[in-house]
Structure formats: C-alpha cells, structure tokens
C-alpha cells in the first residue's frame, strides 16, 4: 500500500486499533524508514495524546487505589485507621493526663497565692515592728504604763514620741466578738477623742498597735482603747478598756 493510502489509518495505528492489513503495512513502512509515514504516525500519536486531555477529571475509586498500592508492593494495613477502641483508650489517657496537670497546676497556684499572702502579712508585721522600735528608741519618747491596779485588767505600756507616733503594747485583752474590733484614741485636753487606728488582739490576748506620725504631747491628755464595730467609729461608743493618762508627763 502506498503512503497516501495508509494516511487515513495513522490515528488507528496510534490508538492500536488498526486492523490488518493496514497495521502490518504501516509497520513495514516505519521499519524501512518511510519519512512520510513516520511523520504521519508522529502527528497521530500527538493527536491521540490530546484526546486523553479531553476526558473529564475522574476521582479514582478506593478499589483502584488499593490495586495500585498492591501493584507496587505497599502494605495496605499501614494505611488503615487504628481501631476505634485504641483511639478511645488513647483519648481517655490524654484526658486523665490533662486533668492531672490541671489539678496540679491549680494546687501550685493556690500554694503560690497562700505564700504571697503570708509574705504580705510578714512584711506588714515587720514594718509595724520597725515603727514600734523607732518609737521606743526615740530620744523624746514618753513611756506610760496602764492597768496595773486591777485584778485581771488589760495591762501594758504606751510609748509616745512627738515626731514618730504612738505605740501601744498590751496583754490580757479579752477576745472581741466576731463583728467587733479594738480602736485606739488620742484624747486631747478639752476636746473630742481623735481616732488612732484599729487593731485586733492575738489569741493569747496580747496586742501591738502603732499610730505613726507626729503627736502634740503637750495637748494630749491620754491614750485610750475601746471596742467598736469592724468599720471603726468617729467617736468612742463604749467605755474604754484602756486609759493611759499622759498628764504626769506634761
């Protein structure tokens, strides 16, 4: 057959659906280096390639995927999900670990808060002791005792420094009701008592209270302590438990 006669069969040959005798004739032409047939078959192969591009995209089935993986010797088991119970156990373990660390973290936070509060209390106590020491050690400090003549009265001392303030050290203080607190007063001569701070006694009935700041010793008649409501009062509402007279020092 001539090249012209074979021309219409190039595409069939490229698609490998040419029948005999055309297929044999084209192969014979190609084997002997027929340039016309070689160029024609080359174009037909390119056309056949483009035909493939006209197909709509298709999603391969899972069965095709399995066959392809099997053909390359891949183990399908490695691609499968873990059994449900394994995942459930893993999730439960993670949950237990998460709860454990959450509880532990909360415990640490509470400990840190508790220690911070203790540090604040100790800092305040240290500051109070420093102020008390300053008053006691001051060169112009006046010292007055109180409660010495009663059978089980509150007893103690009051230290007054004109420049540093007033220090009260007491013992035998009765426990106040839950909604009450002790309040110290500076009582001027011929004038109303002036509030000098709130304080609570310790479990053993002792107390240390400081009212820092200047004090006009010449115009102050006494230092007193009453029991008041938790918020304190502008003026005493109960009979003083402690009265330390400063009259002898003026």
């Amino acid at each position: 057959m001539t090249c012209e006669e074979l021309r219409q069969y190039y595409e069939l040959y490229a698609l490998d659906i040419a029948e005999e005798p055309e297929r044999g004739e084209i192969r014979a032409h190609l084997n002997r280096g027929c340039e016309a047939c070689m160029a024609g078959v080359k174009r037909a192969l390119e056309t056949a390639t483009l035909i493939g591009a006209t197909a709509p995209p298709a999603r391969p089935s899972s069965e095709l995927r399995r066959r392809i993986l099997a053909s390359v010797g891949s183990d399908q088991r490695s691609f499968r999900w873990l059994p449900v119970w394994v995942s459930a156990v893993a999730m439960a373990a993670l949950l237990v670990v998460a709860v454990y660390f959450a509880v532990r973290s909360r415990g640490y936070s509470q400990q840190a808060a508790s220690r911070q509060e203790a540090i604040h209390i100790q800092t305040a106590q240290l500051l109070q002791l420093t102020e008390a020491f300053d008053i006691m050690s001051g060169p112009r400090t006046t010292e007055v005792s109180f409660g010495g003549s009663k059978p089980r009265p509150p007893q103690g001392k009051v230290f007054v420094n004109p420049n540093r303030g007033v220090l009260l050290i007491a013992s035998n203080l009765p426990r106040t009701p839950a909604d009450k607190i002790y309040e110290m007063w500076l009582i001027p001569k011929g004038a109303k008592p002036v509030p000098a701070g709130l304080f609570q006694s310790r479990d053993d009935g002792s107390a240390l209270h400081v009212r820092p700041g200047t004090v006009d010793l010449a115009s102050t008649a006494a230092v007193a302590v009453t029991v008041e409501n938790q918020a304190g009062a502008d003026q005493p509402t109960t009979t003083p438990l402690i009265v330390a007279s400063l009259a002898a020092t003026n």
């Binding site: 219409q8 069969y9 595409e11 698609l15 056309t47 056949a48």
Partner: protein, 46 residues
C-alpha cells in the same frame, strides 16, 4: 472514540458491542479521527 480510546476495544470488538458491521465501525472511526485531527491539528502543530 470512547470505546476505542478509553476502553481499549478493537474495531471488531466495537462492532460486536455496538451491533454494527465492521465496515461501518471502521468508517465511523476514521471519520471521527479525521475530525479530531482537524480540530486538534492546530494544537499539535503548535
């Protein structure tokens, strides 16, 4: 063309599947390929 290209059937198998004479199938295939060659020729030559 779908039978030939995507399913890999020979012209004889297409004739059996479509219930047509082999000569008719050959004519249809040649005509279809001729049309494709004309349509895709520009892309091929470029």
């Amino acid at each position: 063309m779908e039978l030939a290209y995507f399913e890999g059937l020979s012209q004889s198998e297409m004739a059996i599947k479509m219930g047509q004479p082999l000569g008719t199938i050959k004519t249809w295939v040649r005509t279809a390929l001729q049309s494709l060659r004309d349509e895709l020729g520009v892309a091929v030559s470029s």
